[in-house]
Amino acid sequence: MAAAERGASRPTGDNRTSRRHRPPPLTLSAHFRLRGANDCFRGQSARTWCEVEAGWGGERESPEQPDRRPEAGGRRPAGGMGEFKVHRVRFFNYVPVGIRCVAYNHQSNRLAVSRVDSSIEIYNLAANSFQEKFFPGYESRSTEALCWAKGQRLFSAGLSGDVIEYDLEQLSVKYSVDGFGGPIWSMAADPSGSYLAIGCEDGSVKLFQVTPDKIQLERTLERQKGRVLSLSWHPSGTHIAAGSIDYVAVLDVQSGSTAQKMLMDKRHPGSQRRRCVVWGVAFLSDGTVVSTDSAGMVQFWDSETGTLVQTHPLASSDVLSIAVAEKEDSMVVGTAEGTIFHFQLIHSRSDGKQSQWVRTKPFQHHTHDVRSVAHSPTALISGGVDTHLVIRPLMEKVEVKSYDAALRKVTFPHRRLISCAKKMQLLLFQFPQRLELWRLGATDAAGKNEDILPLSRNAEHLLQLKKKGPENICCSCISPCGSWIAYSTASRFYLYRMNYENNSVSIKRVSKVPKFLNSALQILFSADSTKLFVASNQGSLHVVQLSEGTLKHLHTFHPQSGTLEAMPLLAVSPDGNWLAAAGMSNGVSIYDLKHLKPHGTVPAYNFPVTALAIAPDTNNLVIAHADQQIFEFSIPQKQYTDWSRKVQKHGLHYLWLERDTPITHITFHPKRPTHILLHDTYMFCIIDKSMPLPDDKTPLFNQLSLREASENVRRRHAHAFKISKKFQPLLFMDLLDEGTLVAVERPLEDIIAQLPPPIKRKKFGT
C-alpha cells in the first residue's frame, strides 16, 4: 500500500476489510432486534430449527438428567475429577481493536494503550503486565496521541480536535478541551510535565498549561505549512521539534518562532516524487533530532545547523513511530512492515568520548504496521494494527530470570467479556458496540475423554442488542435465570427484561431505572436473580431489588471516606448474604447484604486482584491476584482459611507462578465443596483442596501422564492442580451444571483472518 494513501486513510479511522465474514444480521429500526426463526446460526436447515422448537419446552433437560447423572457419578474413578461435557464455543466473533498509541509512565511503571476505537487500557508493568484499568471507546473520537503529564495524569488527543484527561481513580473521562486547531495529530508533554504541546491539522502547535484540575491554552507557536504529525520536546524544555510533511521544524518555545527547518530528501529511490510524511520525531539533549518518515528512513539531524548527520534506510515502507529511552542511550522505531528496530548509542572510542547511534537488533513480533512504540527502562514496547501489545525485554538490562525477562504478547483483554445464564444455558457476549445472546446446543450422547459428541441441537443466535449513542459498552451481565440483561456505557445504564415463550424471545427495556444508575463499571446479579448489584465509578455499590416491572433501590454502600477508587470486580455469595468488591489497590471489601452493612475488608496485597468468587455453603472468598497467588478467605470467620495458609506456607508451583496471563474467572462445583474451578487464557484448572499440593519437583501439568498410568500410580502422583490446556485461547469457562462446562475459545487464526491484509513483503523464493 502506498504510504500517502495509507496516511490519507487514517482520519476515517477503521478501514478494516473483512476477508472472511458472516453476513451481518439485519438491523431492525429499534436499537435491538430479535433473531427470527429462519435467522438461526449458519444456515441451519429448517429441519434443525423444528427440532430445536420441539426441544424448547422449558423442561427440556429434565427427562434426561436423572438418567445421566447417576451414570456419570458411577463411572467416576475413585479420587478422580470425573468427566465433563464441554460446550466448546468458537463463535464468539470478538476481534480486538488495533492499537494506536502506547505511552509509558516511568513514575508508576504503568503503560497506557489506546486503541483505534479510542478505548484506553492501563497496564501495570510491575504487576505482571496486568491490564488493571479500562476506559471504553467513543464512536466519533479517534485517539491519535496519548501522553502522561504532571506525574501520573493521562491525556489523549485525537481527530475530534479535543484534548481529554482521564480520571484514573474513577475510571471516567474527567473533561475534554477543544484545541481549536482542527483534528489533533500529535501531542507531547514537556519534560517537567507542566505543558502540553499539540500538533494540529491547520499546522499550528499549541501550548497548554497543565493546571491542577484542568488544562489551559497558553499560546500558539508559529504555524507550519502542513499538519503537524509528530512532536518532541527538547529535554531542557526550550525547543520543540515538530514533524510535518516534507520537513521537520524546530520551534523556539520562548519566542514561538521557527528556529530551524530541516527538509526531507524528496528523491526516494525507485519512485517518482512523493510527499515525505514525518511520522515521528525525537529530540535528544545534545540537540540531535531523529526523524522517522514515510520513505522508510531514520535520519539524525543537527538542530543547530539543520544538517543531516546520519541516515538509516530501514524499510521500503513507512517508519511510523519512535521512542527514546530516558537515558538516551537506546531508542526503538517501528515500521509498517511490523518490524521494530533497536538503535543503541555505541561508544566508538574506549574512553567514551565519541559515540555513535548504531542499528543493533531487529525484532519481528508483529505482522502489521507498528503504529506506536514505547521504551521502558528494560523493555521495548510496541503495538499496532495486528492488535497485539508486545513487551520485548532487553536482555542486557534484565538481571535475573523472572517475569520481566520473558517476551510478553498481550492479545486478549484481562476483563471478562462473557456472562452466562447457567440454567438456561445462555451466553451473553459483549462487543464494544453490541451484545449477542446465544443459546447453547445439546447432545444426547455420552462418550469418553476427547470424544466429540454428536449434536442433537446446535447452538443458536437468539438476539443481537446494539448499543445506543456514540459511547461503547463498558460492561454487561445476564442474570443466572436468563431473564434480565443489563449493560452500561460510560454515562447510561440499560436494563432489559427477557421473555422466552415457546419459540420466540421477546425483550423489553425497563424504562424506570433509578436516577443514580447512570453508569456502571460492573454489573452483577444475585444467584436467584432477585437482586442487582452495580459498581458505579464513584466507588459506591448500589443494591437494587428486581421484580417484574419495578425496581426497588435497597441500599447503596459508599466507599470508606477519602477513597473514590472504583471497584470493578464484584462477587456475591450463592446464598445472597455476602457481597465482595475489589478495586485495584485497596484490597477487597466485604458487605453483609442481610443487614446491609459493611462486614470488613480482606487485607490489601501488593498485587491487584484479577478475579474473585464466593464459594457456596462455606462462604469462602477465593481471590486470585496478578502475581498468580490464590487466597481463600473465610467471610464468616473473617480470616484466611487453613488451606489458604497451607498454600502460602508450601508455596505454589514455579510453573504456576510463571504463567503470564491472569486468572479471569473463578467458580465452584455445587456438589464438590473441595473444588475450585478457575482459568486463564491458556489453561483451565480444577484445584482440589483435599489433595496434596505439588512441589517444584513434581510435574505440574501431569494430566497426560496420569491418563496413561495405572490406578495406583495415579493415586500416588495426583496432586491438587488438575490442569487442562486443551482449550486455547480461553476467554471464558464456567460450570453450567454438575457435569457440564462451557468454554469460549477465540482462535488467533480467526482474528488474523479479520485483520486488513499486511504489507506484502518479498520473501525469498516467492
Binding site: F84, N449, E450, I452, L741
Partner: protein, 721 residues
C-alpha cells in the same frame, strides 16, 4: 561417571592396630573373601558381604608379621612371613599358626605376590624373585642381590599379562627412583631409571596397570600431581641404561599445598582414586578422578583420619578409617565427555562432597600442546621451543630428540629385521612429542632407501608405520609409488584405508594393479578381509542356488507385459543363476578399499578411461554382484563390519559406464549387465512415479486430520484425573 557408595566397616576394631596398623589387604580364595594382615601378629579372613570375620590367626608373642598374608590360589593355602625370614603356610582348618608348616629362608622377604592362576612369587628385599614352589623345595637356597646396597624397594606389584606374570618393583636410592620389570619365561629383568625433572617433588605413592604389553605406572607426588610413565614389555635385551620419561597426567590439587599420607589406586582404565590430606584442608578425603578428562568425579570426606593406605579389589576400596577397616564400594562407568563434565554441574549425592577443584587447562602440559606442535609440522630438531613449556618438558624433548636422531640414523643402514625390532620399540611409546613428525621422517627415510636399494623393502615396517594413522599421502607421496612398483597390494590396501588424500590418478593405478594381479599370487598375501567376510561366504554357499531378486520390495515380474522386458528377464535369469562373486575374496577386499576411498568425479573420470576393457567388465561384474547382494535384504546394505555402501556401488557403476560407455555398449559380454542395470533404473523410475501419485492423497489425509475439530461449536468430553 564414578560413584562412591555408602561405606561400611568390616568387623570391629582391628586388634592392636594403630593408625598405621595394616600391612595389607589381599584377596582370599573366593571373590568375597579378603585377608587382612595387621602390623602386629594377626591375620584375619573377612567375608565382606557379611561384614564378619571367618577366621583369625596370630603368631606367637614376640614374633612380628613382616609381610602381608596371601592366598595361594593353586592350593588354597595361606602364606605369611614373620620375622622377615620365617615362612608359614596354613589352611582354613588350622587354628594355631605355631603348629603349621614352617620354613626358614636365607634372606629377608619383602613381599609375597599371589594372583589367580599362577604360582605365588616371593620378592626378596634384595630384589631377587623366586617362585614359591621352587623356594619350598629348597628353603635355604642362596638368594642373590639384584639391587645395590642402598637401594630400598618402595613399591611392588604383580600382574598377569597374556597369562604371563609380570612383576614390577620400584626402588629408591638417594632420591632417585628405579623401576625393575621382571618377566618370566624367558626370565628377564629390566632396570629403568625413572627420569624426573629437577624440581619434581617427592613421590609418595605408586600404582600400575598393564595393557597389551605396556605397563602404565602412575606416581602420585606430594604436590598432588599424578605422573604417568609407560613401560613397554618387549623382550629386548637388557641394555645398560634405559630411561623412562614421566609425564604429568593430572593435578589433583590446585592449591599447590603439600599433601601427606596420600595414596593412589587405579579403579579402571579411566579412573583413579586419590586418598589423602592437604595441609590447607586438614580433613582427609578420598576422591575419584577421571584421568581421561581430568575431572573430579566424586569425593568423600573421611573425618576420622586414615592410615594413608588404600587397596582396591574388584569394585571395592579398602582403607583404615579411624580405627576401623572401612570398605567403600564404587562404580565407574565408561567415561564420556558429557558424563565427565556433567558431574561438576549437578551437585552431589547426599553424603558426598564435591571439592570445587576445577582443572586448570592452561597449566596442564599433556597432549594438547604437543599435538599442536606436531600439527605445525616443524622440522624434527624442534627449533620452536615454546616459552610456555617448562624446563622438564624441554629436557624430555631433548632426550626424545636424541633417541629419534639415533633411530633415524639407524634407518639408513639397519637390516630389515633389526629395523622392525627398533620400530616396534619406538612405536610402543606413542606419547612422545612430535611423534607424528618422527613417523613422517622415518617413512621418508625408508622410502628414499627403498628407491636407492631395489632389494631393500621393509614391508612389515612400512605397514606398521601406515597403521599409526599419523601419515597421509601428501606427507610421503613416494610411498604408494614404491608400493605400486613392488605390487604390494597389502600396503596399498592399508594406504587406501588410512590416507585421506590420495589423488585420483593413484587410486586408478591401484585399481589397475588390483584388477590385473593374479589370483594365485593374491592367495599368499595377507590382505585385510574385514570388508568382505560379511557376504562372500554366503556367496559361496549358494553358488548354485537360484535366488529371486526383489529390488526394494518391487518384483520385476510386474513388468512382464513388456516384450523387451521378457527378453531382459531371460537374460536376468541367466544372470541370477550365476550369482557368484566374479573375483576371489582377496581381490574383492582390495576392490572394496578402492570403493571406500574418497574421490572427485571430474578427476577420476579421465583416469578411469585408462582401464582396459577386460578390467572394466570384471569390475562392472563385481559391482553388479555387490548391488545384487545389497538388494537381498530390505535395508539395502551389505552385512559385515565395513562393507561398501549402496551409494558407493552405484556411483562407481555410473562412473565406469560414463567413462567407457561406447566401448561397453559394443561388447557382447557386457550385455547382460547392461540389461539388468537398465531394468533396475526402469523399476526405480516406476516406483518413484507411483510414490508421487500417492503423495497427493497422503497430503490430503494430513489436511483432514488438521481440520478435524475446527468447527465453531462442538460438545466434547473432558476428563480430569
Amino acid at each position: 561417571m564414578a560413584v562412591l557408595e555408602e561405606d561400611f566397616t568390616l568387623g570391629g576394631l582391628v586388634p592392636g592396630a594403630g593408625l598405621d596398623g595394616l600391612l595389607g589387604v589381599e584377596h582370599g580364595q573366593k571373590a568375597d573373601l579378603f585377608l587382612v594382615t595387621d602390623r602386629g601378629r594377626t591375620v584375619i579372613l573377612y567375608k565382606v558381604s557379611d561384614q564378619k570375620p571367618l577366621g583369625c590367626w596370630s603368631v606367637k608373642q614376640g614374633q612380628t608379621i613382616t609381610c602381608p598374608a596371601v592366598c595361594n590360589f593353586q592350593t588354597g593355602e595361606y602364606v605369611v612371613v614373620h620375622d622377615d625370614k620365617v615362612l608359614r603356610i596354613w589352611k582354613n582348618e588350622d587354628v594355631n599358626l605355631d603348629k603349621v608348616f614352617k620354613a626358614t629362608l636365607s634372606a629377608d622377604v619383602y613381599r609375597i605376590h599371589s594372583v589367580q592362576n599362577t604360582e605365588p612369587l616371593v620378592l626378596f628385599r634384595e630384589g631377587a624373585v623366586r617362585r614359591l614352589d621352587a623356594l619350598l623345595a629348597e628353603p635355604q637356597q642362596e638368594i642373590e642381590a639384584v639391587i645395590s646396597d642402598e637401594e630400598v624397594i618402595k613399591w611392588t606389584k604383580l600382574f598377569l599379562d597374556s597369562n604371563q606374570p609380570v612383576l614390577i618393583f620400584v626402588t629408591e636410592k638417594h632420591g632417585n627412583y628405579f623401576v625393575y620389570v621382571q618377566v618370566f619365561n624367558p626370565r628377564n629383568l629390566c632396570k629403568y631409571t625413572l627420569l624426573r625433572g629437577e624440581e619434581e617433588p617427592v613421590t609418595l605413592s605408586f600404582a600400575a596397570s598393564v595393557n597389551e604389553r605396556l605397563v602404565t605406572l602412575l606416581c602420585l607426588s606430594c604436590n598432588g600431581s599424578i605422573y604417568e610413565t609407560l613401560i613397554p614389555l618387549n623382550q629386548s635385551k637388557p641394555e645398560e641404561k634405559q630411561v623412562l620419561v614421566t609425564s604429568l597426567l593430572l593435578k589433583t590439587n590446585v592449591s599447590g599445598s603439600v599433601l601427606k599420607g596420600v595414596s593412589l589406586a587405579i579403579l579402571d582404565k579411566d579412573h583413579v582414586a586419590v586418598m589423602g590430606t592437604s595441609l590447607k584442608a586438614p580433613k582427609e578425603s578420598i576422591s575419584v578422578w577421571n584421568i581421561k578428562f581430568q575431572t573430579l568425579q566424586t569425593s568423600k570426606e573421611l573425618s576420622q583420619g586414615t592410615g594413608g593406605q588404600l587397596w582396591c579389589y574388584g569394585g571395592k576400596l579398602f582403607m583404615l578409617h579411624g580405627k576401623f577397616l572401612t570398605v567403600i564400594p564404587f562404580k565407574c562407568e565408561i567415561s564420556s565427555l558429557a558424563a565427565a563434565l556433567g558431574k561438576l554441574k549437578n551437585i552431589q549425592a547426599p553424603g558426598t562432597q564435591t571439592v570445587s577443584h576445577f582443572v586448570n587447562w592452561g597449566t596442564f602440559q599433556g597432549d594438547g600442546l604437543e599435538s599442536q606442535d606436531s600439527n605445525n609440522l616443524v622440522p624434527l630438531k624442534g627449533q620452536s621451543k615454546r616459552s610456555s613449556r617448562t624446563r622438564r618438558n624441554e629436557t624430555r624433548s631433548q632426550l626424545e630428540d636424541s633417541t629419534n636422531k639415533e633411530f633415524l640414523s639407524g634407518v639408513k643402514d639397519a637390516s630389515e629385521k633389526h629395523l622392525e625390532q627398533q620400530l616396534s620399540k619406538f612405536l610402543a611409546d606413542k606419547r612422545t612429542p612430535e611423534f607424528q613428525i618422527t613417523v613422517g621422517h622415518i617413512v621418508t627415510e625408508l622410502v628414499e632407501r627403498c628407491k636407492a636399494e631395489p632389494a631393500f623393502y621393509p614391508q612389515s615396517s612400512l605397514a606398521q608405520l601406515v597403521q599409526t594413522q599419523g601419515l597421509s599421502y601428501s606427507l610421503c607421496p613416494d610411498l604408494m609409488a614404491v608400493a605400486l612398483e613392488k605390487r604390494d597390494v597389502r600396503l596399498l590396501q592399508l594406504c587406501l584405508q588410512q590416507f585421506p588424500d590420495i589423488p585420483e590418478s593413484v587410486t586408478c593405478a591401484c585399481l589397475k594393479v588390483f584388477l590385473s594381479i593374479g589370483d594365485d599370487s593374491l592367495q599368499e598375501t595377507n590382505v585385510n578381509m574385514d570388508s568382505v567376510i560379511g557376504y562372500l561366504n554366503f556367496a559361496q554357499d549358494e553358488k548354485m542356488g537360484k535366488t529371486e531378486v526383489v529390488q526394494n520390495g518391487f518384483s520385476p515380474v510386474l513388468l512382464e507385459e513388456n516384450n523387451f522386458d521378457d527378453k531382459l528377464n531371460k537374460l536376468d535369469d541367466t544372470m541370477n543363476t550365476t550369482l557368484t562373486c566374479p573375483v576371489t575374496p582377496q581381490k574383492a577386499a582390495l576392490l572394496n578399499a578402492i570403493l571406500h576411498s574418497a574421490y572427485s568425479e571430474t578427476f577420476l573420470l579421465s583416469n578411469l578411461k585408462d582401464l582396459t576393457v577386460q578390467h572394466v567388465i570384471l569390475f562392472l561384474q563385481y559391482l553388479h554382484f555387490l548391488y545384487e547382494k545389497c538388494s537381498e535384504n530390505a535395508s539395502m546394505t551389505l552385512p559385515g563390519p565395513c562393507p561398501p555402501t549402496l551409494n558407493q556401488i552405484m556411483d562407481w557403476i555410473c562412473l565406469l559406464l560414463d567413462a567407457h560407455f561406447t566401448v561397453v555398449v559394443m561388447i557382447p559380454e557386457a550385455k547382460g549387465i547392461l540389461a539388468s542395470l537398465y531394468k533396475f533404473v526402469k523399476a526405480q523410475v516406476w516406483v518413484y512415479s507411483e510414490l508421487n501419485k500417492i503423495e497427493g492423497s497422503l497430503q490430503q489425509l494430513q489436511k483432514l486430520h488438521q481440520q478435524r475439530n475446527m468447527g465453531l461449536y462442538s460438545i466434547e468430553v473432558l476428563e480430569l484425573i
